[in-house]
Subunit: 339 residues, 2 copies
Amino acid sequence: MKNKKLPTIKEIAKQLNISVSTVSRALHDHPSIGLRTKSRVQELAKELGYEPNQTAIFFKQRRTFTIGVVLPYLIEDFFAGAISGIEEVVNASKYNVLIGQSNDDVEREKAIITAMKNQRVDGIIVSLSKHTKNLDHFTALERYDLPVVFFDRVPASNTYNKVAFDMPHGTHQAISFLMEKGHRRIGIINGPKEMKSSKERTDTYMQVLQKKRLKIDLSLVAYCDLTKEGTSLAMETLLALKHPPTAILAINDYVALDAIQYAKSKNLINNKDIFFVSYANLPISKYLENPPMASIEQYPKKQGEKAAEILLSMITHEGPDPLEPQNILIPGELVVHIR
Amino acid sequence: MKNKKLPTIKEIAKQLNISVSTVSRALHDHPSIGLRTKSRVQELAKELGYEPNQTAIFFKQRRTFTIGVVLPYLIEDFFAGAISGIEEVVNASKYNVLIGQSNDDVEREKAIITAMKNQRVDGIIVSLSKHTKNLDHFTALERYDLPVVFFDRVPASNTYNKVAFDMPHGTHQAISFLMEKGHRRIGIINGPKEMKSSKERTDTYMQVLQKKRLKIDLSLVAYCDLTKEGTSLAMETLLALKHPPTAILAINDYVALDAIQYAKSKNLINNKDIFFVSYANLPISKYLENPPMASIEQYPKKQGEKAAEILLSMITHEGPDPLEPQNILIPGELVVHIR
DNA sequence: CTGTTAGCGCATTCAT
DNA sequence: ATGAATGCGCTAACAG
């Protein structure tokens, strides 16, 4: 079934009684080919519907013009947006995008990386699974000179190329906003402790409070596994405090929405009895009657674009010395939904 | 930079003083290789960190174990869900997924198809751009024996393989539901007229009304381009009717939400002055205070899975006679949000 | 059980 | 300006 044979340069060469190398050159507009020959070749090629066999070219050139993108869940708006940015940038340079979803499973993440390496993608863009701690499967790629750029969920070490949301900046905005609104007991719902962002958020939180000379109460910092149940547990803990928070900063809009539902089940009205600020600024927020009071736009598309640009520059970069690892922070923007 | 050379079977053969074919066989657990040789080869392979070069294999085998997926927008939950289903199914058979977003642009769609064909993907899964009328760029693929399966936004002709939502069934449910609620003037907001689903929805609508012996008023059927502005225009038309509809069936939840916002701007309260039923059942619906009264779940993941299964069966199928074109309908389910 | 050989389609180096 | 020859890494037909 897959055996119908397509025209090759060899076929064209035969029909024109010239050599394959001439055909190859003619097809590439090589300067040293006679105008006459060139046009004969190109005409016949068109007539036969010749299309170069990319698999042969990939094999020969040792490049596939394909980049791999590994991320937890395509269904999350953030990641879908990031992919769009990536696709746009790499398509402009004739690269294609191979995707793999880790489903937040470390083993799957490893398997995807291996498959992509064997398939000789020219580079990989990764957003880590929420439980990835060990990065061996990425450091192993150095051996193959396979460039990797992380985005959003990035490793802590600065030896890697990475593009991420500027957590200190965004968190600072969020907390300042809440404090201006008069809140003094601000709770936090982080993701899992393994996630770099959890620590960053907490650190910034403490810094801001410190600067305002407020005392820090770490019982206001909760963690969750990003599921609805996990969020409920975190909320339960926070609300059970002797002095529960009057406002909560949640790792993302999904968690905030689950938290809002939980609060509601405890008869706490959102934006009245309790207030939320979260990260992501989901497009659907504008349809919600009762959204988080504010959300920090993280510009997923921009993150994807930037990661893709860095990756392409690494792929293109020829030279003995590797480029310095890049560490790009994308500043967010606080979008206020409820004034 | 991309020149560090990796171990090949040739390298292994040399070190072991045996032939490459023996190595190749040993690596594949070929039965006719001596146990001793086999283990020597496999050990050295592991020691050298040998990994087969897939690009060479693709080239030689004339298969890439890659399938292309072309769809309008990854950012729409429906399509992201479908991809997840596709990925899951094809990964189980060691296939990878190459994606391309058409952005609902026909030219982009064509370009993506061409690129995928040249890259020798083993098959393609497509959801058409909303304006694709001419299918030449798909029929051209027959020449290459490249299997194609359409899903969701499928062509009308039955000569193609396709998996789609069962529009008559779903629409019937929706309209019956609205009629049980007492509605007699039911409006429709379709997508563009080019979309097959627009005609199907309208047809079913007319059939149901006919069966109930209600008179049909085609001014209740509006079309939109799926943008917020287009939706507003459609709403404007419907609400300007001498007898405006009391309920509206909208092509999808996004359009319904925009329509609800428009209605609100005209002081019509959703689920009180006017009612909506739509298609998709977005996961975020459950967070909405004031969602469409009901929405028809279209099981995107299931559609993706089914499309992938069909494609894989076509790829695997060896034989002179091609398989019959499949035409699968996935029944939806009416999910009632407001009782 | 193992080796030899050919060839997939193309770009490229070296001749002429 | 063109051709001949080579090889990328691997599989498989054929030959022992």
